[in-house]
């Protein structure tokens, strides 16, 4: 069970048959997407091969600085990805809050996970450090992206309600409570669903395989890891989304407690 099946290069090449099938279907249905599919496939391949070589290097030269550099790169890409994926225009202040909450939320959760829950040894062991940090960061990125869009959407569609509340002497905090709660719900829901929803039945065995590979041990060990990682993801997503919302709503008001929008 501890040995992983090796995929030979020819076996790997044979997997590209799926893309060939997709291309055939697309051409047959006259959906002009061939170019995008080919480019996406090439990009994915090149990216993964490059990442593979970088990881080989880092795994072989176990150094604290490498793990930390990868962490910072992942965080930075995640923040830019949130900026890019947001359909609405983001104010400078809101961008700042996104970066702050993304970095501090995921790092706090990760430090707890690393030093208290799993206790990697050494704490920067790239085999654990990089994939687990990646999972926390990736999921928090999705959470904050959803939170950003729900928050802006809320302030746009419920502008008059917020103003009416302010006119009655509500603090900005109270006036935007409904919007913030709704945004939290929208941001956190996918994470909750992946834990308890029917989707779990579908995804769990898949994630278990990942866990087995990660730990190089039997299913029971893998499940323990999986539980710890799921909880870690939930913690990281909640923490970064809460930070984002509690700091972010303030950027919609000026010093006179007026809506800026």
């Amino acid at each position: 069970m501890n040995e992983m099946l090796e995929i030979t290069i020819w076996q790997l090449v044979s997997a590209y048959i799926f893309i060939v099938i997709l291309l055939a279907v697309v051409r047959w249905r006259k959906i002009s997407r061939e170019k995008e599919i080919v480019i996406a496939t090439l990009r994915m391949t090149i990216q993964l091969v490059l990442v593979g070589y970088v990881l080989i290097y880092i795994f072989e030269h176990e150094k604290m600085i490498y793990s930390l550099i990868v962490l910072v790169i992942m965080e930075t890409f995640a923040v830019y990805n949130i900026y890019k994926r947001s359909k609405q225009k983001l104010s400078k202040d809101l961008k700042k809050i996104i970066a702050i909450s993304m970095f501090s939320g995921t790092l706090l959760a990760f430090i707890y996970f690393d030093f208290i829950v799993v206790q990697f040894s050494p704490w920067y062991d790239p085999r654990y450090f990089i994939p687990i940090a990646g999972m926390l960061i990736g999921n928090s990125m999705t959470g904050i992206t959803l939170g950003v869009s729900a928050l802006i959407e809320g302030f746009t569609s419920r502008k008059k309600e917020v103003e009416a509340a302010l006119m009655l002497g509500a603090t900005p905090n109270k006036a935007s409570q409904g919007i913030v709660n709704h945004a939290f719900d929208a941001a956190i829901l996918p994470t909750i669903n992946s834990m308890v929803g029917m989707g779990g039945i579908v995804f769990l065995p898949g994630m278990m395989t990942g866990g087995v590979i990660l730990s190089g041990a039997g299913p029971l060990e893998a499940i323990k890891y999986q539980i710890a990682i799921m909880l870690g993801i939930t913690g990281s997503v909640s923490l970064s989304v809460i930070l984002f919302l509690f700091l972010g709503y303030k950027t919609f008001f000026n010093k006179y407690a007026q809506l800026k929008w």
Binding site: E161, A164, A165, L166, M167, L168, G169, A175, Y256
Partner: protein, 213 residues
């Protein structure tokens, strides 16, 4: 109570001087687009002027905590807003927002009666008609026990009988409790009948070379 000096806001408002005394019902009267609502929003810092100053009880309004000020100078906006929940929730929400003590159902029922609002407290507020929603929003503001009431077209969606009933009640409430009300209206009739003082927008706005004292 309010003193405005050299106020400018975009190209909407340009007021040299305007004083508003307490214990009155004041109507801001003028054509649509004359800046009535904009001026009203200045009195509780829902908007801030580009230039000039507004004093409230001898203190510059921008030096006051806007949230505290709005508890004292409450406002009813032009569009009646209904919040999620029952009629009761909607009446009490202003008190909840501002952290004031809630009132008993009996007081709510008697208020609704005066506003000709024949609804159950338990009813979902989103089921109310436009005119009923306006009276609901009106009632919510009256309950606030403020010093100054800023009302922007508070009866625009009401038929004449209901309007008279609501305004009669409101005027009596203001007089009896020695409150101040500043009201925007474009009904000359309402302004004539209920106000102690009428402020015509085209008289207070500075035209080139003129000034109003």
């Amino acid at each position: 109570m309010f003193l405005i000096r050299n106020l400018k806001y975009k190209d909407i408002l340009d007021i040299k001087k305007l004083t508003i005394e307490s214990g009155n019902i004041i109507c801001l009267f003028g054509a649509s687009g004359s800046g009535k609502s904009t001026l009203l929003k200045m009195f509780n810092v829902m908007l801030t002027p580009d230039e000039g100053e507004i004093n409230y009880k001898d203190t510059a309004i921008t030096a006051l905590d806007p949230v505290q000020l709005r508890k004292e100078v409450v406002m009813l906006g032009q569009d009646p807003i209904v919040f999620e929940g029952t009629v009761r929730d909607n009446l009490l929400i202003g008190l909840r927002f501002s952290g004031k003590n809630e009132v008993e159902d009996q007081q709510l029922i008697s208020l609704m009666k005066k506003l000709h609002l024949n609804k159950e407290l338990e009813e979902d507020a989103s089921n109310l008609s436009g005119g009923e929603q306006q009276r609901l929003a009106f009632g919510r503001v009256v309950l606030m026990d403020a010093t100054v009431y800023l009302m922007d077209e508070p009866t625009s969606a009401l038929d004449q009988d209901t309007e008279t009933a609501v305004m009669d009640y409101f005027t009596e409430f203001i007089k009896k409790n020695e409150k101040t009300a500043i009201m925007v209206t474009h009904s000359k009739e309402i302004a004539d009948r209920y106000s102690d003082r009428m402020i015509y927008m085209d008289e207070i706005l500075t035209k080139a070379g003129e000034s109003y004292e």
